[in-house]
Symmetry: C2
């Protein structure tokens, strides 16, 4: 039996980070991943573990100690299973990696704000904001890692953090027709994104899965909340997402019913 | 000559963190601190170093490599001068420390939003928000470090991060009459704050200095910006803050002139 348990929600990007890190270390089977249904109220035993907070993932070790926040859990796993190291060890290389890591929160917030937007008039500004985030990453990579594809020799700490977001942002391609424009301004970040998405350690989710489960996000309802007129969340466990049709792309013009979504 | 140079603004809390960490390591003299006057436009040579961004502090090493973001610089210094270690090394202890560290950004944002507020009607809500932040820290410390005063045996990584904020929030005591209420709900965080503020490694600034330099923040003008009718910023280097009178406390009712502020 695994000594560590992670409680998470389906296709949570912050949880996928943990799976990627463990895969890179050959330690995926050392941790039990327990899926929480966010379309239901949190069970009392989970709230007790997390001391009342509802954010996931949380990790519990064999001593019953609980750790929250995906970046904190990642560092814990890196320290617990130091070989092979995924984070850089040299002080300056680590600092560069950490500067890139610091850009993740804004990148994430921009993508989620964009997909959840319901105001057609804000759409262009959100697209511009997203492009700025990519341009910032591009600039950083051109400065610190011009030869690519990764920040350093291999898929590492920064890729572990960003790849689940690159994958979630498939919802922007589908629901917002967002594409990185061709050209030099985004060439380096595109190379980084594409190499990261293709890496064998990061194949926990698919585009189809993301697009189908995040339909409610695209209509403005996050974290398993129910939209008006709907009785089931797109994050519901049943029916399985494979058995559902692809949702309508026209998020600004149309609201699909449970039936149309195969729920 | 020092091999490392930090460029920072006067009484910047993020820079004080670096000074505290270096003091704990007996390395304060290994780094040159170069003060930037934020009441003036950033010099071109500094913008070039920081690749166009204006956020400070930045650190430059002997090879001309530039590191931004105070948490990244702190980790760089911790790695460069590993003994004595300030951050925890045991994986779980480090995770607890990192969970506390993760609470710093919201704590900081709340305090700065509060001091910069100009709307009397928002004042109570901002006070409540600040108290919630302290209650959250209190709860965390009661869970993980009930015996105190610090998170672990000594003033460490978490204290290095939070102490400069505890000290900046003297501006809340002065301009907002904000005090932590007596009683159990805040007892543990008060003990932590008071022990941290008193630590010999953290004596780079005084209450008088904070209150005088942050007058413009209390009137809503951050980062060296000029208030209407004023010709000098309270962050000006001259006259020295010691030579100036204490500013008026009544921030909602009154706007002091340069002359009244001794500028």
């Amino acid at each position: 039996m695994a000594e560590l348990t992670v409680f998470h929600i389906p296709v949570c990007p912050f949880c996928q980070r943990l799976e990627i890190l463990l895969s890179l270390k050959g330690r995926r089977d050392d941790v039990t991943f327990s899926v929480i249904d966010i379309t239901q109220p949190r069970p009392d035993w989970l709230l007790a573990k997390a001391r009342g907070t509802t954010a996931l993932p949380i990790l519990e070790n064999a001593d019953g100690q609980v750790i929250k926040e995906s970046l904190v859990i990642l560092q814990y796993l890196e320290d617990l299973y130091p070989k092979p190291g995924v984070a850089q060890r040299d002080p300056y290389r680590r600092a560069v990696e950490n500067m890139l890591t610091q850009m993740e929160a804004q990148f994430c917030a921009q993508g989620y704000t964009y997909v959840m937007n319901q105001d057609l008039e804000r759409r262009d500004a959100l697209r511009e904001g997203m492009l700025k985030q990519y341009a910032r990453l591009n600039d950083f990579l051109v400065e610190h890692a011009p030869s690519g594809p990764f920040l350093y020799e291999d898929f590492g700490w920064a890729e572990t953090l960003f790849t689940p977001l690159f994958m979630r942002f498939w919802f922007l391609e589908y629901y917002e027709d967002f594409q990185l424009p061709k050209g030099d301004q985004y060439a380096r970040v595109r190379e980084w994104r594409d190499a990261s998405i293709s890496h064998p350690a990061a194949q926990q989710v698919t585009k189809e899965q993301i697009v189908k489960l995040y339909y409610d996000y695209a209509k403005g309802a996050g974290k398993g909340m129910l939209l008006p007129g709907r009785r089931r969340s797109s994050f519901a466990f049943e029916p399985h997402w494979r058995a559902r049709p692809w949702p309508p792309k026209a998020k600004y013009e149309y609201a699909a019913t449970d039936e149309e979504l195969g729920l």
